[in-house]
């Protein structure tokens, strides 16, 4: 059976798996972004900079852990099905977003924060008007890595019942049907590329102009 024949015969199933993969990704990304940035904000509060620094080194090292290991651990402790798959995606996806947001906020120049405080910004204003906007490019970089990682890891998460495009790849492997495997691999790759482009565009949109001007 050739590739085109497979696609035309299984059109609806492929679309369904695509949507499943996408929503798996979207849900995990939203959760990781909110939780990740919240953790970073907490860890970079004044007086807690040391916690922030520890978090940066821990998440820096954790990025080296292979995704399959995280999935295996979740399988052992939580079991099989959609929820364990989502848990694995969130846990693994949190690493880059926390790493980038924390180091981004920590690298906002000390004098900018001091000037803000000295002029009468409240703690909350220092965070939302100074720290976050200045760290936006780095935070967005973290969100982009997290997005790419979640899409890739979601493929593997299908082995513990996550569903999505991973199903096509593993079925293709088991039954030795290259066309099925190629469809799954190609679609997940295309999805990753498109989403990274969308996020790059958002990054451009929300990065303050003053940080981009030529000197």
């Amino acid at each position: 059976m050739n590739l085109f024949q497979y696609i035309s015969e299984n059109y609806n199933k492929i679309i369904d798996l695509c949507m499943e993969h996408f929503f798996l990704f979207l849900f995990s990304l939203i959760i990781t972004t909110i939780v990740g940035i919240a953790i970073s904000i907490f860890a970079t509060e004044e007086g807690k900079e040391n916690i922030g620094k520890i978090i940066v080194s821990v998440t820096g090292a954790a990025q080296a852990v292979p995704s399959i290991a995280v999935i295996a651990l979740v399988f052992i402790f939580v079991g099989i099905g959609k929820p364990p798959a989502i848990i694995a995606l969130i846990v693994y996806g949190l690493v880059p977003i926390i790493f980038n947001s924390t180091s981004g906020i920590l690298s906002v120049p000390r004098e900018i924060i001091e000037a803000g405080k000295g002029m009468g910004f409240t703690k909350r204003q220092v965070l939302w008007k100074l720290k976050i906007p200045i760290a936006i490019p780095v935070i967005m970089g973290g969100i982009r890595s997290t997005a790419t990682i979640i899409i890739g890891t979601a493929v593997i998460a299908s082995v513990i019942g996550g569903g999505g495009l991973g199903d096509l790849i593993f079925v293709g492997l088991k039954l030795n049907r290259p066309s099925v495997l190629i469809v799954g691999a190609a679609l997940s790759a295309i999805m990753a590329i498109i989403i990274d482009h969308i996020l790059a565009y958002i990054e451009k949109l929300i990065t303050p102009k003053g940080l981009k001007v030529k000197r």
């Binding site: 000037a115 803000g116 009468g120 100074l130 003053g210 940080l211």
Partner: protein, 388 residues
């Protein structure tokens, strides 16, 4: 005879002192028995200091002497361990720190302009925190840009697009945003190259003459302290060593430490206390408008028996200089400089002297920060002053 003179002199001094005592002084900032420890180290040690309204007080001392800590306790960026700080009679501990800081201008060495804000938004920071009306803010920003001699086109630039000197000017304008009575400045000109620093000093002094704020200015540069300060507070290891008017410190250093701080060339430094504007003269100065032709200038100069004429535009800004040169016997040539060497009215005699030596001129034109012609200054006058 000489003893008589001395006693008369003493009486005079006494009278003066009594007069000063009888005047009720208005203190804007009162520091009383301030102490701050960082762990074992005592950063500020039982320090008391009163700063009068409208004066520029310099805090000077070696690094780590506690001068910056002292300043930061005023706007409560650092909490004092012991002692009292009063602002216009009210303890700063009775005011919410955030509200307090909105009423005090603050400039730091690295300036800390917000890179994602335009120049306009930077200057508008405190007025916006205080919820001023946008129209009022717009007027205030324009006024401040003009005050620090930045063109209004700068309003929509970003800090990354400015030079170091321009950033410093914006930093000062931002600190003055909501027209605070008190200004705290922590080595604001420390990171600027020497030439621009001189210019900024002069503009800053001129601005202070206009606005008369109560300013606390931290520095480690004794020349800067003498040049800018009305009064100087010398701090060492958290303790106040001497606090007085600049001239008094220069002529009567309290101890060896102050003497060393002032350096060897105290008589030359005394020239730093004198500003050009007190020695400007307009006697025999010839100014012409831009439209005057060379021939007319030549005739005018020969008639008045002078060799230099300054060219001013409609707004009295100095734009050029004509000067006569004897080329051959009886033949006189007229020359024109488009960018004549000039000095600012708030330059010190010291600086003027070195400029004169550097360019070999005995006479220099004096301008204000907007380049407006004020008159000339002569080398002879400086020597007269030096001989006093």
């Amino acid at each position: 005879m000489s003893t008589d003179n001395n006693s008369q002199e003493n009486n005079k001094i006494k009278n003066k002192e009594e007069q000063e005592k009888s005047k009720v002084k208005e203190y804007t900032i009162e520091l009383k028995n301030l102490t701050k420890r960082f762990g074992e180290k005592v950063a500020v040690d039982n320090l008391s200091l009163n700063m009068e309204k409208g004066t520029l007080t310099m805090l000077i001392g070696p690094s780590g002497c506690g001068k910056t800590t002292t300043m930061k306790m005023i706007n409560r960026l650092i909490q004092a361990d012991e002692g009292e700080i009063k602002l216009n009679g009210t303890s700063v501990y009775d005011i919410d720190p955030v509200q307090l800081r909105r009423t005090i201008g603050y400039v730091i060495q690295e300036i800390g302009l917000f890179p994602h804000f335009t120049v306009y938004d930077n200057i508008a920071t405190v007025p916006r925190l205080l919820k001023w009306d946008e129209n009022k803010i717009k007027k205030r920003v324009e006024e401040l840009l003009d005050m620090v001699t930045l063109d209004s086109s700068y309003a929509y630039r970003y800090p990354l697009q400015l030079s170091g000197g321009e950033r410093q000017r914006v930093g000062l304008a931002r600190a003055l945003g909501a027209d605070p009575e008190v200004l705290l400045m922590d080595e604001p000109f420390g990171a600027i190259d020497p030439i621009n620093r001189l210019k900024l000093h002069d503009s800053f002094l001129e601005i202070q003459e206009e606005i008369k704020k109560t300013i606390v200015f931290v520095t480690h540069d004794i020349n800067e302290a003498i040049k800018l300060g009305d009064k100087i507070a010398i701090i060492r290891a958290g303790k106040l060593v001497q606090y007085d008017y600049s001239a008094k410190i220069l002529y009567n250093p309290a101890n060896k430490f102050v003497e060393n701080l002032l350096g060897q060339d105290r008589s030359l430094k005394a020239l730093t206390l004198k500003k050009n504007k007190d020695f400007v003269s307009n006697e025999g100065v010839i100014t012409v408008s831009k439209d005057t032709t060379e021939d007319e200038v030549l005739k005018l100069l020969q008639k008045k028996n002078q060799i230099i004429a300054f060219v001013l535009d409609k707004n009295d800004k100095l734009v050029g200089r004509y000067w006569l040169e004897k080329a051959k016997k009886d033949k006189v040539e007229i020359n024109y400089d488009e960018e004549p060497i000039l000095i600012e009215q708030n330059n010190t005699l010291n600086e003027t002297l070195s400029t004169m030596f550097a360019c070999g001129e005995k006479l220099l034109p004096v301008v204000d920060r907007r380049n407006k012609f004020k008159g000339i200054i002569l080398l002879d006058k400086i020597f007269e002053e030096f001989n006093k």
